[in-house]
């Protein structure tokens, strides 16, 4: 029992994955944004900041490699480690997520007295995970085509490059929208997390926070009976 009543929510591996994702995606967005908005003062400023047009491209590719490594790391994690498999299972969408969503809206508009009881990951976090999963797959695939266009010129038709470019650009816009709106809200601006939920760094949340936001996980972790029932070793 910890005196401060802190509970570990994220393992070190989880936090490293998040950190790599955070760094690579931020760099990719900044360098990609500069290219997409090259006509605006911000785009020009970013290109200048990134050391010119060609340096911008190099930086984007270095960040892409980092994202790729992160993605492979994550795949290994969810396939080959016990902890990863358990986490992935928690992230799979379930029927309960849909009813949770309805319940949460009812709670917000005052129809329900109590919020829905969320497990380890609420539907809000699952949406985020799966959107990101899809984004990263799309970005890596289209990015590889664009990066190695000289190789793929002999393999793929011309329209495929145009498609990859459009897809890369459109998905990026969607990612930015999603990050700025949803992720920022979930971990920074939402009342229970404001100004920041620090568990991405140290992995710990307060017992009270867990009880408020992930009641079922709280039960599983604090209540020994729940612990026996849960497949999660911690």
């Amino acid at each position: 029992m910890t005196a401060e009543r802190k509970i570990q929510r994220f393992s070190l591996s989880w936090r490293i994955q998040h950190f790599l994702l955070m760094v690579s995606v931020t760099l990719l967005i900044i360098t990609g944004f500069a290219l997409k908005y090259h006509n605006t003062w911000l785009g020009r400023f970013l290109i200048f900041l990134e050391g010119g047009f060609e340096a911008r491209g190099t930086l984007h590719r270095i960040s892409a490699v980092l994202l790729f490594i992160t993605a492979v790391y994550h795949l290994i994690y969810i396939i080959f480690t016990r902890e990863g498999r358990a986490e992935f299972k928690e992230l799979l969408p379930m029927k309960k997520d849909f009813s949770d969503f309805v319940e949460s809206v009812r709670y917000d508009i005052g129809k329900n007295e109590k919020p829905p009881m969320y497990g380890r990951y609420s539907y809000k976090e699952k949406i985020q995970y799966w959107f990101f999963f899809l984004f990263v797959v799309l970005m890596i695939l289209s990015g590889i085509v664009l990066w190695f266009h000289n190789y793929f010129f002999g393999v793929l038709p011309k329209w495929f490059f145009d498609l990859s470019q459009a897809l890369h650009s459109a998905t990026a816009t969607l990612i930015i929208t999603f990050l700025v709106l949803w992720h920022l809200y979930l971990v920074h601006l939402s009342p229970s997390n404001f100004p920041i939920n620090t568990s991405f760094w140290d992995g710990y949340v307060s017992e009270e926070w867990l009880r408020e936001n992930h009641y079922l996980e709280y039960l599983a972790k604090v209540n020994p009976e729940g612990k026996d029932k849960g497949e999660d070793e911690q």
Partner: protein
Amino acid sequence: MKVWILIFFVLIANQANSQLKNQRCFVCHGVKNFGIVEQGKFKSLYVSREDFEASVHSKFACVSCHVDVRVIPHLTKPRKIHCLQCHFEGNVVGAPVTAKPEKYKESVHAKAVAKGKNAPDCKDCHTVHYVRKPEDPNSSVYKTRVPELCGGCHQTIKEEYYNSIHWAGIKRGELSSAVCSDCHREHDILPPEDPRSSLNPKNVIGTCDKCHSDVKLMKRVGVPVTNPEAYKESFHGIALKFGVVKAANCASCHGYHDVLPSRDPRSPIHPANLAKTCGKCHPRANENVAKGKFHVLPGEKESGIVYYVYTFFKWFTLIVLIGLFTHIVLDLVGHIRRKRKKASE
């Protein structure tokens, strides 16, 4: 200054009986095979009176320019004259003054002349005695005559140009089509290496763009007008804009003197030739590069699958944006309401 005053007086003195004086000149110079033998070669000294009288200088006396001819017949060879004798700032004879001579001084031609090479100055293009306004179809620099004029020296390039769609346009009577001077400029012709040149890789786009972004003109000649815009948004276009001159510009793929539309089998952008054209920079390019459109704008329906993907994502992003935003607002409103309720209890 002395010379200037002299010119002035000579002009005044000659103005009144200029016709008579010219008539006296044409007694000899109006004879078709009038000439002299110089260094073993026959040199014609014939001046067509008809053509001279149709020129912009018709109202001037021959001696207005040939100021050292005091007696007729003159016994010595008159000095060479220069256009700037009159066409200078502040002249009293009303000779139009423009920045063109100054621009010319910067050009490759002027620099070659200065080095003693055989290169044109004013008279080589504008002629000596028959200068007409460029709009005059009989002018030596009238648009349709420019290729022949430049081709006098640049012969192989002239032949290449005569194969081009631009020349075909001129022949068809589409005078907006490009001749040499439209891309190379008229007086300030600079080498492509010069950053000020209209042919510098960084300026080529603007040079082609001048006509190829003109909606009315392109519609008239049936050429897609969005191509320059699409190019500027492409990787090549953006890279070039930021100084990566190895990136392809218009001329890299389309060629220049003998530019032809993609339907022409001789064109480097004909589907059958694309592999070779792209292959100049992308060594693995093969017939795959011909499968798809070029100058694709994702927002245009003609772009096919690219358009549909782009449009899907556009709406999807908007829906996601609205959906998430609504959810966040709902959450916050609920939070505030519950807080107030708690406070009032």
